[in-house]
Symmetry: D3
């Protein structure tokens, strides 16, 4: 029954990587808390680098500086 | 003043269905809790089936199996 | 499979009212989008009036003015 | 270490405005709570006007009426 | 830089289990997407069983039936 | 009409500081995007330091080390 939301920047995450994240986090909740995988929901949000800020600036600007 | 967020998979939800969800949930909050519809906010997120997991796998994979 | 999050101020919402909200929103998603109630998840967050702002001020202050 | 999520309707917000929001909210948290800007995360979600409801109707419908 | 939110029912999750979830999900994001653990944020929300609905009813009611 | 959610660790944030955050972020959205303060909603979540992770560990553990 858990609900997990993963937010990452939109920078070429593949369908295979998404499947791996969903499988991994579902297994983690089963292992640590005994949660039933059948009702564990995982939602992945990919966020444009213009829309993600850290350190007071956008990730777009950081990437331009090579960070 | 309530805030409601509805997340569903991105599978052809029409503008009419979205309007119906917004109207229905706003009326529900007025009826059950006496909340003022004028300040009830509803946000609908449509999520790609690759980005939605349940049972440890993506909805894309489940749809391919006919689930 | 939908996920719904309802946020309201923490002002004496009863267990019965919460059950009514959960039932109502689950039925709405089944009626409008044909979603399966068995996997529809609803999470209600009750937020202290000090922590909810509208119009640039807290709900606590608005309640003191009788709003 | 704070996390801030800003949701607005998708109506031509520019990259410059997003950068200004991220800078402003990061500075606000530093000023009011002494939070470290380096680990303050801000995520902006732009939501289609069909998917945003207020007053029981979509913003699309309100915009058509000139609201 | 990822942000992860894990929501589970409030049913005696220990500080040790929370630490294990945080460590596990941070490692998963490093392994699958190469994300830097230093800026990976994880927030765990524990939700009262009265406030969590699935199948149109609260988890409180389900637990009373032994589910 | 914007909706803003601010998450910080639960470490003695006062009602006055919350009011200041709500006022500041509402003014920022009016200044940068011309948003109407009357319908700008801000919700502040205070999260226990056991439930907030960064760098793969809880804030509780970091605070014990003086970070």
């Amino acid at each position: 029954m858990p609900y997990v939301n993963i937010k990452v920047t939109e920078e070429g995450v593949t369908a295979g990587q998404k499947a791996e994240l969903i499988k991994g986090v579902t297994e983690l909740l089963a292992k640590v808390l005994g949660k039933n995988p059948a009702t564990t929901v995982v939602v992945i949000d990919e966020v444009h680098t213009d829309n993600w800020g850290i350190g007071g600036e956008t990730v777009t600007v950081r990437r331009q500086r090579g960070q």
